[in-house]
Amino acid sequence: MSSMILRRLNWGLMAGIVAAGLGLSSYAGAAQELRIGFIAPLTGPFSQVGKDMVNGFQMYLDEVGSDFAGAKVTFIVEDEEAKPPVAVRKAEKLIRQDKVQLFAGGLLASTGYALAPVSTRLKTVYVVSTPAADDLTQRDAAKYPYIVRTGWTSSQPSHPFGEWACQQGFKRIVAVGADFAFGHEVVGGFQKAFESCGGRIIQKIWPPLGTIDFGPYIPTIKKDADAIFTLMAGPMSLQFPKQLASAGIRLPVLGGGTSYDEFVLPSMGDEVIGHISALQYSAALDTPKNDAFVKKYREKYGKVPSYYSEGNYTAAQMIHEVMKKTKGKWPGTEQFVKLLSSVQLETPRGPVRIDEMKNPVHNVYIRIVRKKKEHGYDKDELWNSVVKTYPNVGQFWKYPKEEFLKQPVYSRDYPPCKYCE
């Protein structure tokens, strides 16, 4: 009797051990899940930009079948309506409810400044793929141990641009910039470099973000300037050059990259031909990698990729690189940050590596809007044609890091308008 029970127990025990062993091994070999949260504006004035962001990331996921070195990627997208409080709310939901291991995206610099504390508070990795807010990787970097930026800082392209503008012979420039952190920082960076080389910003005008009617602002632009430097974002980028032309202003126009980025360029008219800008990407970039990227993106989504598309495509690729190193296993928040900070990659925008403050170092391109045929397409279209490349541009440009960090962050009043008339 008892031997029967004993034998049953033995069988049971053995069965149990085998089952456990099978279970363990299947667990070890089972597909790890990588849950990525993504925040972008899907409705409202910036929705086209948001779409580009999502599409860029999604295209990379589709290329690798949502498989990051064995980890199955679950990609959850939330709409932030280009409003920082909504972005914070969605981030909280992604982290608390959807249990994402990392989140990426956010559009505006102000959104970046609002999401970074969330990443610290809830100890979750934030891959800053688009927001360019300077201080996230400069003066406030210590506050945000779990963020890694794969995009850019607002002033990063402005520094070489300012130097270039001065070398071209421009001496007196009027700045018209959208009145928010991003606008201040892009203009500020340009001003610093332009003035260190001998140029002067003689006027600064700040239309609020979202201004569509520039009627109050355009007539105040000083007529005797050499050029206008404009920083527009979203719907402003489309309207400002139109209204500038309607008002009969014929000055040369320089601008921040988002003023002419491909998210809006196809909708613009001939009024922007000859306008010059600086950014770490242009769809017209003539490299084999970018050629393939543009063709594939255009075929898939019906439009030329913008820097928003490229930025998020590259972010996805960099995350994949990290997962390759960990063989598909989530390495935990701190380790992930360390690994992502050491990634070096050839991307559609060129070579990218991350500096010690967790911001990318990459090429900056000076581009002029030209109407021509590019990448073998047979129609004349507007492209940001690259006329000069500055390689290996970091967020501090040629300025020593300590000195740069000692100066305040670029704002409406910094650098001060010494030569304003």
Binding site: E78, V88, K93, R96
Partner: protein, 334 residues
């Protein structure tokens, strides 16, 4: 007979519901805790509005302004003066209520002279002024960017912990509810109801109705400011979006949906609206149909709000009972 037990039964139900929220929430998952905290904060705002709308008959379309004042004050003190991040938090609470009350005192001078539709318009306009300032006074309010707050205060208790903060907010909610309940049952509160019913009569009886309304307005503003302080720390970010017109309208809906003149109705309404906005919106893309539908259906079919449902059921039951009794009388043989 049954009606005599109803108030006591209602009180028991309310206490039971509150206890349920208090006990169950900490175990409900991290996101639910955050949502309930938000709902409780808006409940305070809605109840403050109920004092104006439900009890005094003043429909204010600008209540979010006081939440905004309290929230911005908290944020500015925390970021510029590093004040309010420890035991001084309680000082900020008082200051928040004061600034809400002071703003209401100022606005009330413009608004109280009006009534009905004009009151709606004026309070809407005043609320918009606060929004306009928040949006464009960049140097003070950060404009569009808003103000990001440092981590929540710690004074022996770590408010940074979400559950702890929930308890704190719950405490404020409970105390506010009790204080407002006492207020509306007091002679002052009853005279407010009298004003709502027939202001002319109250004036003839010798009441200074302007002053009564003004004081009610100030008290509502004070509680609005309190909600603002709690909101700033709950969210960690204060921005002009918090004082936009839609927030004031939402507050009105919360009161109307729950049932004006019931206080708790506002809390229930707050729960529903917060749930719709912050939870349903993450589940389905067409949640705004539900929100709009709730607005429309409530207005059309539920004028007394949700709290009036038990009475309606009781009322219709009483009606049918009486109908039956009448029929019995008629059919019973004599």
């Amino acid at each position: 007979m049954k009606d005599g037990h109803a108030p006591r039964r209602k009180l028991l139900i309310i206490i039971a519901a509150m206890l349920a929220v208090l006990v169950l929430t900490p175990f409900s998952g991290s996101y639910v805790i955050v949502l309930v905290t938000h709902a409780l904060i808006f409940a305070i705002l809605a109840m403050s509005l109920d004092i104006l709308l439900g009890y005094t008959g003043l429909p204010s379309l600008g209540q979010a302004a006081y939440l905004g004042m309290g929230a911005y004050l908290t944020a500015i003190l925390a970021t510029r003066f590093q004040f309010g991040l420890d035991g001084t938090f309680w000082v900020v609470v008082v200051l928040g209520m004061l600034i809400g009350a002071a703003t209401a005192a100022l606005f009330g001078l413009f608004a109280i002279q009006a009534s009905g539709v004009y009151f709606l318009m004026i309070t809407l306009a005043l609320g918009m002024c606060v929004w306009g300032l928040a949006y464009r006074w960049n140097s003070l309010t950060g404009g569009d960017n808003g103000i990001v707050l440092p981590p929540r205060p710690a004074f022996g208790i770590e408010l940074a912990d979400d559950v702890t903060y929930f308890y704190l907010v719950f405490g404020f909610f409970a105390v506010s509810l009790v204080m407002m309940a006492i207020l509306v049952r007091s002679p002052f509160g009853r005279s407010l109801v009298g004003i709502r019913e027939n202001e002319l009569r109250m004036r003839i009886l010798g009441y200074n109705t302007w002053l009564h309304k003004y004081i009610a307005f100030i008290i509502a503003g004070g509680f609005g400011g309190l909600a603002g302080v709690l909101w700033a720390h709950a969210h960690g970010l204060v921005s002009p979006e918090d004082v936009v017109l839609a927030t004031s309208v939402d507050a009105l809906l919360m009161v109307v949906l729950g049932g004006p003149g019931t206080l708790v109705g506002g809390a229930i309404g707050a729960g529903i609206v917060v749930f719709l906005r912050e939870y349903l919106s993450t589940l389905v893309p067409w949640w705004q149909y539900v929100l709009g539908g709730v607005y429309v259906l409530t207005i059309l079919y539920l004028p007394g709000g949700l709290m009036s449902i038990p009475e309606r059921i009781r009322g219709s039951r009483a009606l049918s009972r009486r109908a039956r009794e009448t029929k019995n009388l008629q059919t019973s043989p004599h």
